[in-house]
């Protein structure tokens, strides 16, 4: 088993963090895992994406061109990765900010209004967790519980007050993939 996942969006959308939560969960579940970021030159507002590879054998290349799954949080990311996802893969689209629809019929596309739902839930910054919940549910490699545990084990002290909301967000997202 090897899943190669790209999480991509603007800086500030929490894509790098979403990738890290996924990486922690995979590590805790006993998999080999790599997380590698790529930034734009801007500190905020530029592109921010990461690649997470989860595997049951030693991971070679930490970068891939064609992911088996992707979360796209904004239009440029949609344009870059909608065509790249491998046949049979999963694409989670943050439909609040991305009006386009995918024309591909060889992948599973989940349209999740992450930004809107997050705003309704009281914090726009949990859109990443909503999308991640959808992705993990669709992939079926890790039970959602492992992500909640990863949050519990690795969320920085100063962010712990957001733990319940983050968990709720994961669940909310997962509903879109059920």
């Amino acid at each position: 088993m090897q899943e190669e996942i790209i999480v991509s969006g603007f800086g500030g959308q929490g894509t790098l963090f979403a990738g890290q939560v996924l990486a922690y969960a995979a590590m805790d579940a006993g998999y080999h895992v790599t997380w590698i970021p790529s930034y734009g030159p801007e500190m905020r507002g530029g592109k921010a994406r990461c690649t997470v590879i989860i595997s049951d054998e030693e991971i070679g290349s930490p970068l891939i061109r064609r992911p088996s799954a992707a979360i796209v949080m904004n239009i440029p990311s949609m344009e870059a990765f909608e065509p790249a996802v491998r046949s049979g893969g999963v694409l989670v689209v943050n439909s609040s900010l991305i009006p386009q629809r995918s024309e591909r019929d060889d992948i599973r596309v989940l349209y999740v209004p992450g930004t809107e739902l997050a705003t309704e839930m009281g914090n726009v910054r949990i859109a990443n967790m909503i999308c991640l919940g959808a992705l993990v549910q669709a992939l079926g490699v890790l039970p959602l519980r492992t992500l909640e545990e990863a949050l519990e084990n690795h969320l920085a002290e100063r962010h712990r007050k957001w733990l319940p909301l983050n968990k709720e967000a994961l669940q909310k997202g997962a509903e879109f993939a059920r």
Binding site: Q20, A23, Y24, M27, H32, V33, T34, W35, I36, P37, E58, I59, G60, S61, P62, L63, I64, R65, H154
Partner: protein
């Protein structure tokens, strides 16, 4: 000890702390500033020395001074900063004091960019400074190795009283992987510093540490001694890893990040019916030449892949000595070559050597 998810730069910094690092001197430069940042809180909290310097020139000369005093010391930088340190490397090598240098390579030449590169291979293994010397150069391919080789760099530097250099690239510095950190070693107390160190000539004749030998014959003797030491290192300390080489007909040679990319290539090649194997040097100086020469007898051809214009390529060619065709594929500018662009090169080599 449990595995934790670590970022590459912090991995190196924390491993150095665990190895008993007593003092760090450094100047910020991307993509390795997280090493400096990690140590800026870790070392003071442990009562050890951290100093952000005014330049890499100052850093290396502070390292030189602390090394002369017998302390376990290190600096880290990225390509342009390493260039500035080269005079110091040469002094340290000639004076035979131990020091650890971390180079998290970025795109060059010039100011280049902050993306990963392997463009400093020649600088590290062939021309780390003026005069005849080589540092011991360790090239991790993943973060567990980054931790382990950082510790090893201290041990080898002290064993041979020379420079132990960890040659990583920006992607290793920035990525995250599970790492089992080495155990915390106690810091060596000042009264256990080596007998050659500058500790004050109390009840003994003065210790002098210099790299100046004005009499030609004396400097030649110093050089002969340094060369003998380098031969000893070359005989004892070559390290590498092999993947699927037992029955390989084509051999990939790549180090660091590209080395692990080529692990994927080997898997994919085998799936496609090409019997490929990989040798990934862990020490790039000393270089695993003898093993590559052996494998050259076994395989039909060799493909070297690097993030540069073909630097390690020269060492591979020297090792293969024309026995087999040696081909090269490289990317620059901070671009990591991916399996799908390396595969066609391997297929070409396969066809060419059938």
């Amino acid at each position: 000890m449990a595995r934790e998810l670590w970022e590459g730069n912090a991995t190196i910094a924390e491993a150095a702390v665990r190895a008993g690092l007593e003092a760090f001197f450094g100047y910020p430069i991307t993509p390795q500033s997280e090493i400096l940042e990690h140590l800026s809180h870790r070392l003071p909290e442990l009562g050890r020395v951290f100093l952000q310097t005014e330049s890499e020139v100052a850093s290396i000369n502070m390292v030189y001074g602390a090394a002369c005093a017998g302390a376990r010391v290190m600096t880290s930088s990225s390509s342009p900063g390493i260039s500035l340190m080269q005079e110091g490397f040469s002094y340290i090598a000639c004076s035979e004091v131990p020091a650890v240098i971390i180079n998290v390579m970025r795109g060059g030449p010039g100011l280049g960019n902050v993306a990963p590169s392997q463009g400093d291979y020649f600088q590290a293994v062939k021309m780390a400074g003026h005069g005849d010397f080589h540092p011991i150069v360790l090239a991790p391919g993943n973060l567990q190795e980054a931790a382990d080789l950082t510790v090893l760099a201290f041990d080898l530097a002290e064993k041979y009283r020379t420079i132990g250099m960890v040659l990583a690239d920006g992607s290793l510095g920035q990525m995250m992987e599970p790492v089992e950190m080495p155990p915390m070693r106690p810091v060596r107390p000042p009264y256990e510093r080596p007998s050659w160190a500058l500790t004050g000539a109390e009840g003994r004749p003065p210790n002098i540490i210099t790299s100046l030998y004005l009499v030609e014959e004396v400097l030649e003797k110093v050089n002969l001694r340094l060369q003998a030491k380098l031969r000893q290192i070359a005989a004892n300390e070559v390290r590498w890893k092999e993947y699927s080489t037992e029955d390989a007909e084509l051999l990939l040679v790549a180090f660091g990040t590209v080395g692990r990319v080529c692990q994927t290539v080997v898997r994919e090649a085998r799936r496609a019916g090409i019997r490929a194997g990989l040798l990934r040097p862990i020490t790039v100086w000393p270089f695993p030449s003898a093993r590559i020469a052996q494998l050259a007898e076994q395989v039909r051809g060799v493909l070297v892949v690097e993030m540069n214009a073909g630097q390690m390529l020269e060492d591979v060619r020297l090792a293969v000595e024309g026995r087999r065709p040696v081909r090269f594929y490289g990317r620059f500018g901070g671009i990591i070559p991916l399996p799908d662009e390396i595969m066609p090169e391997l297929e070409k080599l396969d066809a060419e050597t059938r």
